[in-house]
Structures are given as structure tokens and as C-alpha cells.
């Protein structure tokens, strides 16, 4: 049995090719064109940057692993996420790349060449891909490929990724480079002698400490460190030895004391070289003719037209999320119910069946039910992004978002939050900087998602008389409007406060590229949507499923055998009576409801509700409402059903008159009514502000890279909700309202 295994690793490793590039350069399209659809998407350990990889067949080189790096304008890093690109390119702690593709937009080559230059400095073989060659040709831009190859030392290939043009040639060049690796001379930056000495000193230190062994790489890393490290440690970079950090800060300090601006010198020297290359190898028509993009922008970013267009586009997206997803959601819900009935029909009643039906199947349903909205939202985001409109939307609305410390790009996630926080949190990925992403996903669950609506409807219908009105507006309508207004105000205020407290430091700079309008490729678009859905199902879905089961157990156990026995006896008694079918069924349903109610009251959740009553009583809630709130953690709308069960009314929905009636009749032990209008408003405020949704928690955990921020969100939202409800209820009582 003990055949020795072949050694793993070095011997059989496949060549590794990394793909770097600016955002909007067509990098994803090129990656898809190169590798087809067999893309694996994973996360880099510990951070939320996706690592897309695939294998490609290269003639003569066999299977090659291709990895897509996060899109960046430069390698200088301000966060662990941005650091990934550099570490991968240098092969620090990971496999060193055998070749690096840099995808550049041929119509804006200078910016692409800046990144290319940074990559060339590392000294690995580079293939420069001039993508968007069709647009460059259309704009009359002439690029001298042989000259570029000579000047940069990289191989240069022109492509039109969206049409697959040049992709075969690129594959051939990759194979060639892998087959005949040759040393690449590092580009010669013209630094002042003093800054050159700074870089050399740091590189020498890196070499003596043996962090890197190649002179070129050490020098490249030294420049990167000098540009990226902050003396006060606010750079968020990880894995940099303390002694090295000290050395960097020391050199920076000495340079600035001597009046040298290292940042400016290094960056400017790079652009000097880029400009030289541009002059020698490209001809851009002097008089730019008014491009299509310019003419479209004259309308879409016009003072009035721009606002109208923005409103229309957002309206369509919002409407789609709200109404187009609905039929699919309903279909999924009926399918889940069907499966549940099926399981109940074939399995004997008992704890296992209950676990399957109410835990597992319901849990899977809880996951799948998000798919329609996720798919729709990402379809629209992908479409708008690829068209080029998403950047314009951010441009138009940034002034408003800025006021609360949010980025213009945060608008679409915030808007989708009104439909459902789960896809909305996922869509914060369109934000480039981690701080912007975190801030947006932390406040976004405050926007009033559609699952809160049934709760509001039940409560308003219960506590306000159908005829009552305030200044001619129906009280219920006013309360609903108030909740939406509250959610917007709360989200914006929270953003402002969090920006100043838990996510402090200078707000990340707003630099937004406005790419030309382009025609999207549908197949790439759909592929992107599918990748999102799949990652959601795998990463967040498992957590949601597990939480559903835990919650189900809390709401169902321990079971009191006496309750069951009593119900059985009651049923037998009813069966023995001479009744017509209808009357008998009514009696039986009644017994079922009482039984479920008794079990719930006896469960862990029921006991927790009672134990917590002193805590929530100041908000105007008794323990039964507490149990409803606990149950609502599965999904807010479940509040209605759970509340029904506590009050012995099964199968209740928000339009259920018996449930409303029983709520109106409900009293505190001293006989005073429970659901006064004031208590109702307090409960709605609580629901508006509390993080009553485990799926949101699960998705924030995934998108923020750990439980830390997810739990922080639950904590701050709960405190906020509690404080606000307390204020409403106690303040209201003090003013003598709603008694």
C-alpha cells in the first residue's frame, strides 16, 4: 500500500503568466479571450480581492497557468489589497511569474506605459498588449510596434480583445517568451544622484538582509517601498519586516530634510521615460476631432440632461430589481414549498423530517431566493460599466455623495439597498478603494430594503385606524413614508459618523477615469453575472444555510413532550366528535396553531424572548414581540410569520386580519394594551435601523474579508435601533402620546 508519492511542486510546476493592466483597458475581456470560460475564481487569502485564474494551451510550452491581477493604474500600494499585485509580480512568498502580460488601452497609451514601466523595473519578461487597437485605428493613432519593442525591451502585441483579434498571435508570443526566456534590461530612469543613492542604499540593505537576491528586483522593491510606506504606518501594508520599515522611513526622513521629494522624482522620471517612448513610437493626431464619446457626454453629463438621464437610468435599474425579480422570487418560493411538502409526504413526521424541511430545505431556499436580484443587479452594473455609463453616473452624483463622505460610485449600491442589501453589498466591489467599499457596505443595510415592507404594513394596519389621518394624509401612509425617510437620513448620518470615527484618516482621493463609450459583449457580460451568482452560492450561501439551521433549532427546541401529547389527545377528541368536515378541519387547524405556539414559547428562542423582556420593555415590546424579532433574523419578513405563531395563528401574512386583531387585543400582564400606535412606531423604527438579517451579515463577512466588520455592523446597528426606539417610546410617553 505504500507506493511513494511523486514529489509535489517545483519539478512539475506549470509556467505562470500574470496579467496586469489599468482598469477599463479590456483586461477582463482579454483574459476571457485567452482562456475561454474555464475560469476559476477564488479569493486571495485574507482579503476580498478575487483571484481569477485559468489554464491556457501555449504551443510548445504546454499548459500555462494564467492569473488575472486586480486592475490598477500603478503598483504603489495603499492597502493590503493593492499590495497583492506587487507581491505576485515579484514572487514574494508565491511562485515567481515566468512572464507578465501588461494590458494597455492603445488610445490612452501613456497611462498604460506608466504601469508597464513599473512592471519592467522588476526585470521579468514582459509582453505589452496594446488592446483597443480598433479604437486607436479609428482615432487615427499610429503606433510603431517594432520601435516600442526596441525601446521598452518588452514584446508588443496589438489586440482587439472584444472580437478576439490578435489573441492567437498573443498566445504564440507567450509560448515564444516562455520557451526562450532572456534577461530583460531594467529601464533606465533618470533620477537625480541623491535619489539614486537613496534607492541604492535601500536596495543594498534588502540584498544584505537577503529579502531578495536579484539586484534588479531589490532596486524595484526599494523604489516601491519608498513610494508606498508611510512614516506613521497608515499605509496598511503587511508583511514588511520592521527593520526594513525603519530603514525606509529613515531614508524618507533624510531625503525630506534635505529638501528632496522622492515621490515626485521617481514618478516624474518614469513619466519622462514614458513621454520619450510616446514621442518615438506613437503619433497621436494633433487636432482631436470631436469624438462620439464627447457628443454623447454633452448630453449625459449636461447640467440638466445629465441629471434627467441619471434619474431615468436609476429608475429603470430600481424598477427592475423591484418588479422584474418578483416573479422569479415567487417561483423559487413556491418551488421550495413544493419540495417541503414532498419531503413531508414521503418521510414520517419527526425531528429528522422537521430538520430537513424547516432547516435544510428552507435554508437552501433562503439562499437561492437572492439569485434573481443578484443576477439582475450585476447584469445592469456590468452593462452600465462596459458601456461606460457607470463612471458618468458617479461623475454626476458625486457632489451629493461627497457631502457624507461617500464616493460617487457608491450610489448604485446604496440605491439597490432599497431592494435588498445582499446584492447591494456585493456590488460595492465596483468601488476601487477598500475604505470606500467598507464604509458603503456598513451603512447600506440601513436603507429600507423591500423585506421590511411587510413588517411596516402589518404594524401600520394594526395600530392605525383605516380612517385616521394627519393633515389629510392617511396615518399609515405617513408612517411608511417616515420609515423610508428615516432610513435615508440614518444611512447618510451613519456614513458621515463612521467616516470620522472608525474609518478615519484622509478620505481616499477621488480619481475617476471616464472611459469612452463602448459596445459591451453580451457573452462576457453573462459570464460575469454567472461568476457573481456562483461565488454567492458557494461563499455566502453556506453561511446562510448554516445560520438558517441554527435559527430553526433555536426556535424549535427543546420540545416539550407534554405539549405534543396534549395536542394528540385534543386531536383524538375532535376526531371522535360528530362534525362535518369543514368544522372538524377548523378545529384541527386551531389545535395545530396552539401546538406550534406552545412549542415556540417553550423553545430556546421563546425563553430568550422572556429573559430579554426587561431589556426590550422600555421600547414598548413584550417578550412575544421579542421572539418575533429573533425569528426575523432569518429574514425580516419572517417576523410576521413568527409573530403569528407566538400568537397561535399559523400561516399568517401581513394582510392577515386575525393576526392584526389578536395584536390589537394583546395586552401587558397589567391589562394595558400592547400595540399602541406609539409602540407600533417604536417597533417600525427598530426594524428600520436594526440589522435584522443574517444574510446581510453573511455577505458582509464575505465582502469585508472576515467576521470583524460584519459583527461591528450588527453591533452598531443594534445599538442605533435600540437607542432610537427607546427615544421614540419613552419620549412619546413623556409627551403623553399614544397611550
Amino acid at each position: 500500500m505504500s507506493t511513494p508519492l511523486p514529489p509535489v511542486g517545483a519539478v512539475t510546476r506549470r509556467p505562470l503568466v500574470l496579467v496586469a493592466g489599468n482598469p477599463n483597458s479590456g483586461k477582463s475581456s482579454l483574459f476571457n479571450a485567452l482562456c475561454g470560460t474555464r475560469t476559476k475564481v477564488a479569493n486571495y487569502p485574507g482579503v476580498t480581492i478575487e483571484r481569477r485564474s485559468a489554464t491556457m494551451q501555449a504551443e510548445g510550452a504546454g499548459e500555462v497557468e494564467v492569473v488575472d491581477l486586480p486592475g490598477t493604474y500603478s503598483l504603489a500600494a495603499r492597502s493590503p489589497e493593492e499590495q497583492i499585485a506587487v507581491e505576485s509580480l515579484m514572487g514574494r512568498g508565491v511562485q515567481r511569474p515566468d512572464a507578465i502580460l501588461v494590458v494597455a488601452d492603445a488610445t490612452a497609451l501613456a497611462r498604460g506605459l506608466y504601469l508597464t514601466l513599473e512592471v519592467l523595473e522588476i526585470g521579468r519578461p514582459v509582453i505589452l498588449v496594446l488592446n483597443m487597437a480598433d479604437e486607436a485605428a479609428r482615432d487615427g493613432i499610429v503606433l510603431d510596434v517594432p520601435a516600442l519593442e526596441r525601446l521598452t525591451g518588452a514584446r508588443v502585441v496589438q489586440t482587439v480583445a472584444s472580437q478576439g483579434v490578435g489573441v492567437d498571435e498573443l498566445r504564440r508570443v507567450v509560448a515564444e517568451v516562455l520557451g526562450h526566456p532572456r534577461p530583460v534590461p531594467a529601464p533606465a530612469l533618470t533620477l537625480s544622484p541623491a535619489v539614486r543613492a537613496d534607492v541604492e542604499a535601500l536596495a543594498a540593505f534588502i540584498m544584505t538582509e537577503r529579502w531578495l537576491t536579484h539586484q534588479t528586483e531589490a532596486a524595484a522593491w526599494a523604489r516601491w517601498l519608498l513610494l508606498s510606506v508611510e512614516a506613521d504606518g497608515s499605509d496598511g501594508l503587511t508583511g514588511i519586516p520592521a527593520t526594513l520599515r525603519e530603514a525606509v522611513v529613515g531614508i524618507q526622513q533624510r531625503a525630506s530634510d534635505a529638501g528632496r521629494d522622492i515621490d515626485l522624482e521617481i514618478i516624474a522620471s518614469r513619466y519622462r521615460l514614458v513621454d520619450e517612448w510616446m514621442t518615438a513610437a506613437s503619433a497621436v493626431p494633433r487636432a482631436e476631432r470631436r469624438s462620439l464619446t464627447d457628443r454623447v457626454d454633452a448630453v449625459l453629463t449636461h447640467r440638466i440632461g445629465g441629471v434627467v438621464a441619471f434619474g431615468l437610468v436609476m429608475l429603470v435599474v430600481f424598477q427592475a430589481l423591484f418588479t422584474w425579480a418578483e416573479p422569479a422570487i415567487e417561483a423559487i418560493e413556491s418551488l421550495v414549498a413544493l419540495v417541503q411538502d414532498g419531503v413531508r409526504a414521503v418521510m414520517p413526521p419527526g425531528p429528522l423530517t422537521a430538520l430537513l424541511v424547516e432547516g435544510v430545505v428552507a435554508g437552501v431556499g433562503n439562499v437561492v431566493v437572492f439569485v434573481p436580484q443578484i443576477a439582475l443587479l450585476f447584469f445592469f452594473i456590468g452593462l452600465l460599466e462596459d458601456l461606460g455609463y457607470l463612471a458618468r453616473a458617479a461623475f454626476v452624483i458625486d457632489r451629493v455623495m461627497r457631502a457624507v463622505g461617500l464616493h460617487g460610485r457608491a450610489f448604485v449600491p446604496m440605491l439597490s439597498g432599497f431592494s435588498c442589501a445582499v446584492p447591494a453589498v456585493m456590488s460595492t466591489r465596483t468601488l476601487e478603494q477598500r475604505k470606500d467599499r467598507l464604509l458603503t457596505m456598513l451603512v447600506l443595510p440601513l436603507t429600507s430594503c423591500s423585506a421590511r415592507l411587510p413588517v411596516y404594513v402589518l404594524i401600520t394596519a394594526t395600530v392605525f385606524d383605516a380612517g385616521s389621518s394627519v393633515m389629510g394624509i392617511r396615518s399609515g401612509a405617513l408612517a411608511l413614508f417616515g420609515m423610508y425617510a428615516l432610513s435615508v437620513v440614518a444611512a447618510l448620518l451613519a456614513a458621515g459618523v463612521l467616516r470620522r470615527t472608525v474609518l478615519p484618516g484622509p478620505a481616499p482621493t477621488f480619481v475617476l477615469e471616464l472611459p469612452p463609450y463602448r459596445r459591451p459583449v453580451l457573452s462576457f457580460l453573462l459570464q460575469g453575472v454567472w461568476q457573481r451568482v456562483r461565488t454567492f452560492l458557494i461563499d455566502a450561501g453556506t453561511v446562510i444555510l448554516a445560520l438558517t439551521i441554527v435559527l430553526w433549532a433555536l426556535l424549535s427546541y427543546p420540545r416539550d413532550p407534554e405539549v405534543t401529547a396534549q395536542a394528540e389527545a385534543d386531536r383524538a377528541a375532535v376526531m371522535a366528535l360528530a362534525l362535518n368536515d369543514e368544522a372538524r378541519q377548523a378545529r384541527l387547524d386551531d389545535i395545530d396553531s396552539r401546538e406550534s405556539g406552545a412549542h415556540l414559547r417553550n423553545s430556546v428562542a421563546g425563553r430568550l424572548g422572556r429573559a430579554f423582556e426587561p431589556v426590550i420593555a422600555p421600547l414598548g415590546f413584550d417578550w412575544r414581540i421579542g421572539v418575533g424579532i429573533l425569528g426575523a433574523f432569518a429574514a425580516r419578513e419572517v417576523f410576521v410569520g413568527t409573530l403569528g405563531v407566538v400568537f397561535d395563528i399559523s400561516g399568517a401574512d401581513e394582510a392577515n386580519e386575525p393576526l392584526r386583531e389578536v395584536l390589537r387585543q394583546a395586552t401587558w400582564p397589567d391589562g394595558s394594551p400592547l400595540m399602541t400606535p406609539l409602540a407600533g412606531v417604536s417597533l417600525m423604527v427598530f426594524f428600520a435601523l436594526a440589522c435584522q438579517c443574517m444574510s446581510t451579515v453573511a455577505i458582509v463577512r464575505r465582502e469585508s474579508g472576515g467576521w470583524r466588520w460584519a459583527l461591528f455592523m450588527v453591533a452598531y446597528m443594534t445599538v442605533l435601533a435600540y437607542a432610537a426606539s427607546l427615544l421614540v417610546y419613552q419620549g412619546g410617553r413623556w409627551m403623553g402620546w399614544g397611550l
Partner: protein
């Protein structure tokens, strides 16, 4: 204050072109703007402003870059 030949990019009227001289301010912001190609000596055209007056759209190195006025106030041009 800056010498009289220097103006701030935020004050350059729409449609005009200027040349970057100097960027001042917090290091991460300056570095970011430099890396986007706004190094001294670069020609920048102010293309338009957003409907609400901020941010503004620049044309630099043959691409369209949008920055906020607050950042354009750090950029001296001539």
C-alpha cells in the same frame, strides 16, 4: 501664496488648457494625482464640470480623468 503666474487648476475655465506646475497637500493625494499623469509639465484641458459643479473632467495624456474641485485646488498650473 503662489506667484502671480501660477493659478489653481480649479479656477481654469472650462475649455481652457493649462500646464501643471506643482501639486501640494497630503502625500497620498499628491502621489495619486502624480501617478495618474499630472506630473509637472503636463498639459491639462478642463473638459467640463459635472451638473452640480463638482467634480470636474480633465483631459490629460489623451484620456478623460475626473477629479474633485477640492483636489484641483491643490494643483498649481500656468
Amino acid at each position: 501664496m503662489s506667484p502671480s503666474s501660477h493659478r489653481l487648476l480649479a479656477r481654469v475655465p472650462v475649455g481652457s488648457t493649462a500646464v501643471v506646475c506643482r501639486i501640494s497637500g497630503e502625500r497620498p493625494v499628491v502621489r495619486r494625482l502624480l501617478e495618474m499623469g499630472l506630473v509637472p509639465g503636463t498639459r491639462v484641458t478642463v473638459q467640463r464640470e459635472a451638473p452640480l459643479g463638482d467634480p470636474m473632467e480633465l483631459r490629460v495624456r489623451n484620456y478623460a480623468l475626473s477629479i474633485r474641485r477640492a483636489d484641483a485646488l491643490r494643483i498649481e498650473v500656468e
